[in-house]
């Protein structure tokens, strides 16, 4: 039994949520649907942990679907790089599912709840599939699975606010544009190389020399995934999609969806096109990404400062944080990429905690959570507020929190490759982010102008997920060895793939 599981781990982490999503879809009992979803995500996390141990022995696990060897068949590859985003998705998936129950029953039509859980598991399966697959076209299929189910989840927010439909529609159109661009790139590559396997592509592309189809394919694939990852000028879909989605969906998407896209961005530029590094000098792209990242850092932060809607504010701050992650990648050094992997993990923890605590504060009012409407609510909900403050300080990068660790390594990497000006800009944008964090804390705690005696009390059901993620925020801020070591192993593996 155990050896059977170990042998099939790379596929089990994908098909567990996938098959459970089909079972959950036909259930009538909402509580049972939630219990089964929790069980499915729990199983996925167990499999992921087993996979972590397996990867630490073998460092590279290859799995042939249907026993067809690559490049003919579809291959799944788990290595020291892909295990990091898989871990993020499965841990956040479990925590968010535990968190989801109260909110889905409140925010969504009773008839639709079990179908919502089905979409929810489908999103998780799609995101994990995106990471595990080593087949360029299979990646497109999972891209569609994850984004279409995410679009439907966003649109389900329409019971609370009809604007969710527009937000979902924008997400659908822009997501489809991104996916289409990606598949055009894959088509061009297939035309000139005749293969879809990533490893095989990496071997065949350098032999083509300066081929225009390959350059265009590279541009299309990168642009398509950049839309999905919400890199600065292509981020338009993100704030509304996160703000109007049902609360648990905001938590799940903010913590995982863009992270996975960023991972694919890294994979395309380093694994598929990495071996032709000298030919398509990564330098030109690197400078585009660097300046886009700096723009994102400032634009996201400034938009967040002037935003009143709290969920949208956090979404804008996500754009700035994606900027930090892209900045690390664009440095193209081992420590730069390691710092972006560190921030990939840490930002998932921070944003999941922030979104959880903020939507928990809006639970009883069911209104849009505005800086003014939630005035003084922190005093009524001290435990939720405590979690919020920890995560918010972590976002700002205070010592002893995970945010500090990622800022530290990012600044170190930036200083080593670009000199003093880049760390300076990072520090300025971090300082600016304190403005909106303070705005939130002031509104939640000090501002008490309209504290009507509404029926607001703590929500004990969400303590476990919320406090657990807050604990992780502090724990990995103090003992960051695990995250840092694995990030450096991953970035060294990526860089060594180039040479």
């Amino acid at each position: 039994m155990m050896s059977f599981i170990i042998k099939n781990l790379p596929i089990l982490i994908v098909i567990t949520p996938l098959m459970f999503s089909l079972i959950v879809a036909v259930l009538n009992n909402n509580r049972l649907a939630w219990a089964l979803s929790t069980f499915a995500t729990f199983l996925t996390m167990i499999f992921t942990i087993l996979l972590c141990f397996e990867v630490s022995y073998k460092s590279n696990i290859s799995y042939y679907l249907g026993n067809w060897p690559p490049p003919l068949g579809i291959e799944y590859v788990i290595d020291t790089i892909s295990i990091i985003p898989i871990m993020i998705v499965s841990v956040i998936g479990l925590i968010a599912t535990l968190f989801a129950h109260n909110f889905f029953t409140l925010e969504i039509d009773e008839k639709l709840v079990s179908k919502t859980y089905s979409l929810w598991l489908l999103t998780i399966a799609g995101l994990i599939g995106l990471i595990t697959t080593a087949d360029a076209f299979n990646l497109f299929v999972f891209l569609e699975i994850s984004s279409l189910s995410a679009v439907a989840l966003v649109a389900l927010g329409s019971k609370v606010d009809r604007k969710a439909l527009v937000a979902g529609y924008n997400y659908l159109i822009l997501g489809a544009v991104g996916a289409t661009f990606y598949v055009i790139g894959v088509g061009l590559l297939y035309g000139v190389t005749g293969t879809l396997n990533m490893g095989d592509l990496a071997q065949k592309i350098p032999a083509l020399g300066l081929n225009k189809s390959v350059i265009v394919a590279f541009a299309f694939m990168m642009l398509g995934i950049m839309v999905k990852a919400a890199v600065f000028p292509l981020h338009i879909w993100l704030p509304n999609a996160y703000a109007y989605a049902p609360s648990p969906v905001s938590v799940l998407l903010a913590a995982t969806a863009t992270k996975v896209s960023i991972y694919i961005l890294v994979r395309i530029s380093y694994t598929i096109f990495g071996s032709s590094y000298e030919i398509y000098s990564f330098e030109s792209l690197r400078y585009i990404l660097l300046y886009l990242a700096i723009l994102a850092m400032f634009a996201g932060t400034i938009m967040a400062i002037f935003e009143k809607d709290v969920k949208k504010l956090l979404a804008h701050s996500s754009i700035a944080q994606i900027g930090y992650i892209i900045l690390g990648i664009s440095l193209a050094t081992s420590s730069g990429i390691a710092s972006s992997f560190i921030h990939l993990i840490n930002h998932a923890l921070i944003k999941a905690g922030l979104f959880m605590s903020v939507v928990a504060m809006g639970y009883y009012t069911l209104k849009r959570i505005d800086v003014n409407t939630i005035a003084g609510i922190g005093r009524r909900l001290p435990i939720t507020f405590f979690a919020f403050v920890i995560c918010a300080l972590s976002l700002a990068g205070l010592p002893l929190t995970v945010g500090f660790i990622s800022k530290l390594y990012l600044i170190k990497a930036a200083y080593m490759s670009e000199g003093i000006w880049l760390p300076f800009l990072i520090l300025v944008s971090s300082a600016l982010s304190l403005i909106y964090i303070w705005k939130l804390i002031e509104g939640l705690w000090y501002n008490q102008k309209n504290s009507k005696p509404e029926k607001i009390k703590e929500l004990p059901e969400i303590y476990i997920p919320l406090l657990f993620i807050t604990f992780l925020n502090i724990y990995f801020g103090i003992d960051a060895g695990l995250i840092i070591d694995n990030s450096f192993i991953a970035s060294d593996a990526l860089i060594s793939g180039i040479k």
Partner: protein, 143 residues
């Protein structure tokens, strides 16, 4: 639509359309066809019925709940056939172990998987039709 000729023709055509759908479905191994095409053809029979009679009549022969169940069942069948291979010791989606020989196994596997695809495609088409037919354009949607 209250037209006797249309109603009689639909009644006559309903079963042959489904039969043709099944032919396309199970002939997919040897010639053009397969689950996607067959699913759409079978769904066309139900949609024709709904258009000539009424959506409510169609919901009697294909209740929305059954429709949704079959939709999920088709996709589940696809995944489950893959899992059988997994349990019998081969990788996921490997059909070699299903039959006595490798060829027979692949045959059985693809037949079952395509049936799952056909079931899902057919029911997705019908449920899409239902949701558009139920949508009250311009009125407030109470459903």
């Amino acid at each position: 639509m209250d037209n006797l000729i249309l109603k009689v023709c639909t009644k006559v055509l309903f079963t042959p359309i489904i039969l043709f759908g099944l032919y396309v479905q199970f002939h997919g191994d040897f010639g053009p066809g397969g689950g996607f095409q067959a699913g759409v053809i079978v769904a066309a029979a139900f949609i024709l019925y709904a258009m000539v009679f009424s959506v409510e009549d169609c919901k009697v022969i294909m209740p929305p709940k059954l429709n949704f169940f079959l939709l999920a069942l088709g996709a589940f069948l696809y995944g489950f056939v893959g899992i059988i291979g997994l349990i019998l010791g081969d990788p996921y989606l490997s059909y070699d172990v299903l039959g006595s020989t490798k060829e027979a196994g692949q045959h059985i596997g693809i037949l079952l998987v395509e049936f799952g695809v056909g079931l899902t495609v057919c029911n997705v088409m019908i449920s899409l039709f239902y949701s558009f037919a139920n949508f009250n354009f311009g009125k407030k949607n109470n459903d």
